[in-house]
């Protein structure tokens, strides 16, 4: 297809926490207003709204009814996508590139407390997997164990990875868990589902995020240096799967290939400066490095041990602390996208960005394996 011509004109996110005092529609209203202000776009200019939530995470059926008006949808086109923040951004891009809209708000919020394990279990089929209590923790653990066996990774490798994320989040004012746990503390935390320790597993975080996407014409008119969406990719993995295939995350590779082609990226580690991957459980990050093509199969932990993924290395991964430190079930994808946008614009304290391109990969791992869907976005600054 032709080059993607959609820009991010503005964005806003809350500071994520383990508690929430407002309703989802209130949170969405506030971040949307903030994002519009930052975009220098008025509510009247909004053509459409996309909300990125799942009914189950909202505790309401047809929750888009409550949420789309809070993002300015009254008298306008709206849609609700349940497959995550990146998929929702792509939906907005599609309507803009199709000529149906010039300005689209994409928003999401996490404001309902519920038993996450239970919902994950109810995302499995009722015939084979639900009865045995399968959920995202147990299935992530099994995938991690498989990776350990295949590539001789250890619990210690995973703890090191967790600590890297906690260290990054300690410097991120928007992150939920800012405790900066060390790898010793991670290893000392109780084992929840072997090989996953408590601190290898994401928390449940509350907050909201909104982006304003605009056509090229508006971007050029209003902004002198917008953030461009230069590529996207989406992919899936089959639910009835062979787990020997699953450990390679082929759906993510499929999505990444698409995104790289569109953004004309040939050497990922050279051309991409920072990456956010969805690491609801630490070990998954290693599988994602490989699936995204940053290294050979099985070399993920070697890269980690060589320190290539620390702030001082070539490729910065999970500067936000990733999903391990901030896990908005609905809004995580948008949150990490906004964090990368802020990074590109040098708006983050403690960080200096010298790159032009960043990548965000978002997956629905909170539902568990197999059957995951992946969305990849590449953002670019062109000045």
């Amino acid at each position: 297809m032709n080059r993607m011509k959609v820009a991010i004109a503005g964005y806003a996110t809350t500071h994520y926490r383990g508690e929430v005092e407002a309703r989802a529609d209130e949170l969405i209203f506030h971040v949307t207003r903030s994002a519009l202000e930052k975009s220098k776009i008025t509510r009247e200019d909004i053509d459409a709204v996309v909300i990125a939530t799942e009914d189950a995470n909202d505790g309401i059926t047809i929750s888009n009814g409550l949420l789309v008006p809070a993002a300015g949808a009254y008298n306008r086109d709206s849609v609700r996508i349940e497959t995550g923040g990146v998929f929702s951004v792509v939906s907005a891009c599609a309507s803009i590139m199709a000529g149906q809209a010039k300005c689209v708000v994409v928003s999401s919020a996490d404001a309902a407390r519920f038993d996450v394990i239970s919902i994950s279990n109810k995302s499995y089929d009722p015939f084979f997997c639900r009865p045995i209590g399968l959920n995202y923790i147990v299935s992530s653990a099994m995938l991690s164990a498989q990776y350990m066996h295949k590539y001789h990774a250890t619990e210690k490798d995973f703890a090191l990875l967790s600590a890297k994320n906690y260290s990054a989040a300690a410097k991120n004012p928007y992150a939920h868990i800012q405790n900066g746990y060390s790898s010793e503390e991670v290893l000392a935390s109780p084992i929840v589902s072997w090989p996953l320790h408590l601190y290898d597993i994401c928390p449940v975080s509350f907050g909201a995020a909104a982006l304003v996407l605009v056509s090229e014409e508006i971007a050029r008119r209003i902004h002198n240096d917008p953030i461009w969406i230069s590529g996207y990719g989406m992919g899936s993995e089959p639910y009835f799967a062979d787990w020997d295939d699953l450990v390679k995350m082929p759906g993510l590779t499929y999505a990444a290939k698409s995104a790289y082609k569109m953004a004309d990226i040939k050497d990922t580690t050279k051309e991409i400066g920072a990456v956010e991957v969805c690491n609801l459980a630490s070990p998954l990050e290693l599988l994602e490095y490989e699936a995204l093509g940053f290294c050979e199969e099985g070399a993920g932990k070697d890269l980690l041990n060589r320190g290539n993924y620390s702030r001082e290395g070539n490729l910065q991964v999970n500067l936000s602390g990733g999903a391990l430190c901030t896990n908005g079930l609905n809004s995580g994808g948008l949150f990490r996208t906004i964090y990368m946008a802020m990074y590109l614009k040098n708006e983050l304290p403690n960080l200096v960005c010298e790159s032009k391109k960043v990548l965000i990969s978002d997956s629905d791992f909170h539902l568990g394996f197999p059957g995951g869907y992946h969305g990849v976005l590449i953002l670019e600054r062109r000045t």
Binding site: G59, N121, P126, F128, I132, G133, V138, M142, H149
Partner: protein, 152 residues
Amino acid sequence: MEIIMKKEYSWKLDYSVTVGEVYTKFYEGLKARKILANKCGKCNRVYVPPRPFCDICFIEPLEWIEVDPKGIVQTYTITYQKFENLPNPPYITAVIRINGSATSLIHFIGEIQHEKPSELPEKIKIGMSVEPVWADEREGDILDIKYFRAAK
């Protein structure tokens, strides 16, 4: 200082799902202590659990076969924390490839000798051979298999 109120509620909704012809046949097999699979006529993949259609060829796998119920452990975990409505810890969940099936089955592993729960990860090997242990009373459900154990 104003207090923001919270409203609590829960969904207690009853569901009844149709099992369908293919899974019904599989369930009937379990009742009879058999593991039934179906096979795609085009790619020859064998499916446990059986599939209503071959995902690769998108045609109905019409051939049914009874497979030797032994399987190989592809991966596993031991859960040590108690969660609502889930089994009491510690319990072992494993991904098992039943005898040449193209897809994997997930189930419990039991009868692993150990003194302390922390020993369990070492007692299970990826690649070990397992066989089903059947429940005494079976009603046509995946739990007609109580768990898998190391094959004798």
